[in-house]
Symmetry: none
Subunit: 183 residues, 4 copies
DNA sequence: AATGAATGAGTCTTCATTCAT
DNA sequence: CATGAATGAAGACTCATTCAT
């Protein structure tokens, strides 16, 4: 029961923050979307909205981690893995309505307790890049190239997702692999 | 006087939105930061906050347009121009306190009247890419390559700026030219 | 208009705080008792409840100052003036419903910003005692005795009012002059 | 165990109410100060906060009763006993941090169920005065004077404690015996 | 043309209490 | 017997906006 409510709250919050950012979403909206009563939030997240946001971001982080692993796990090359990743994320972007942004930055930038939030954000980003770099090495890239490639993937994805959102077009994300490797 | 107040308002708003997003900044904060009286906002921007946000975004757009032109104007090659652009923006990022994001998306995503805002955002992004593509062609790139390169620069910059903010490190932006061209 | 609303707010707040203390009275209760709309409070008292409480206390202080002067003004002796004071306050106590306490302590103790509130409270109390001492000297008491008598009146009144409230009997306050001087 | 928890709760509550009044202290604060689990309150006090407040007041009442007896027990005269009482209470006031008020009035005024609370308060006050009057008679005062003297002590103490709190100075309480008898 | 007073829906949060275990 | 999860009314406060001057 407990975990269910808590997770539902975090998941709902993540989904909403991703659309309109930390300040753009009210607690009442989250609560009603999660179909939970008003008082229940502070039971699960004693520190309130910021607590919830941190958990929502962790939620989104774990999901992204899983997606990255899924993409590269059975890839025949790093480039193929990256392409799979872009395609998976394009699909996700489309499924969520083409009006979402990077959950991590939308939750953790612009929020209160700026330093804690920002550091957490940096940790998640770093973690993703490490993860991608690991796959790169496993798939034959040199120890020198791997982190560079990982960062390249990361920034391209971040920027590409933003452009996709502006244009409401998931194909922008799909096209990123061409942008990166076909040249 | 009138234009002065109006511009001051738009400029101040842009500066603040860039840090905490559309919903993260209240009208009263903007007014007090601009040292303007309470009632003056609706004199200059009859539709209120959304009007102001649109103008603030236009303000930021014009500034970015100018920076892009400055960077490529006297460049000896497209790559050199891009590098100059990254360095200029890194400096800007640092001057603003290392805690800002892309003004356009922070203002125009997540706001009300979603569609109008989003379309305006797409227009600005497209405009930047066209502008960069123009410089690319002028500097010898083919008509085929130019828009691709422009998009590459754009997404890299968007994502790189986000990473720079998370890490509070302007050198992330400076490093983007290496990431793009040194390989 | 403006001053009217502000004063009405302060006066209403003082009346309510005197019954149930700073924390015992909600802003909404004050607003509805004053028949003023929700948002109007923060227009007049930007810092909110604590601001309002400070003003309410000042209001009560001025009223008490006036009552003290009225009581001693035409008195033939200090003792007669004190008796008049007790009788006036007994009447006030009864008019207010026999369920009120010292407005100053009820507002300024137990509130937030403890130090500012407490100091203000001490100032008011001291001011009353100075005022009473002045009248004492004017009415023939020595410079040595006057402040002692003033403090005596003050503490007796404070304690007597508390007892009167517990017993819901204004005569307790009337009896204080006998308690003090008939011996 | 059970009684221990119950008493700890009442004692903690009394201590906190004395500082910020009935409405100024939340149940959660009491619970966490007493280091007891959330649900335990309604086990010991089925009617909740008002029940607890009544018990806390009784607690404080018993303590005051004991202090009064201690002060007068071995006194050589009523005046000496009163002086001892003032000194004991001054010490208590200082030990508690100079920011407390009369526990009985702070708990029992301003609370809900006003009538029950107020009557209980009156009973306690009356009881103290009877007790002091008894000592007065035992120490040689007449049956006529004794209750008057007791009331005098009571109101002086009530008012003096209030003044001591405002001035954060325990010596105000010590000085009360001079105020009463040295003249 | 320009402003500050006024407004009430909205914000996040804490409250005392009940309930299921 | 004891407890922590659950609850919704109420808490103080901020919001973007309108209005009268």
């Amino acid at each position: 029961m407990e975990q269910n409510s808590r997770d539902k709250l975090a998941w709902t919050a993540a989904r909403l923050f991703q659309r309109r950012g930390y300040h753009g979403v009210g607690l009442s909206e989250i609560l009603s979307a999660a179909k939970l009563p008003k008082g229940s939030l502070y039971h699960h997240f004693p520190k309130g909205k910021s607590d919830l946001a941190l958990e929502a971001a962790a939620f989104a982080h774990r999901e992204m981690t899983r997606i990255i692993d899924d993409a590269f796990q059975n890839a025949e090359s790093f480039e193929a893995g990256a392409k799979t990743l872009f395609f998976k994320l394009a699909k996700l972007f489309e499924m969520m309505g083409k009006d979402t942004g990077c959950p991590i930055s939308l939750i953790l930038f612009n929020g209160p307790e700026e330093d804690i939030f920002r550091k957490r954000c940096a940790e998640f980003f770093t973690s993703w890049m490490h993860q991608i770099a690991s796959h790169a090495k496993r798939l034959g890239k040199s120890s020198e190239d791997a982190p560079i490639l990982a960062q390249k993937i990361f920034v391209t994805l971040q920027g590409g997702w933003t452009l996709a959102r502006a244009n409401q077009d998931g194909n922008v994300i799909r096209g990123l692999s061409t942008l990166l490797f076909k040249e």
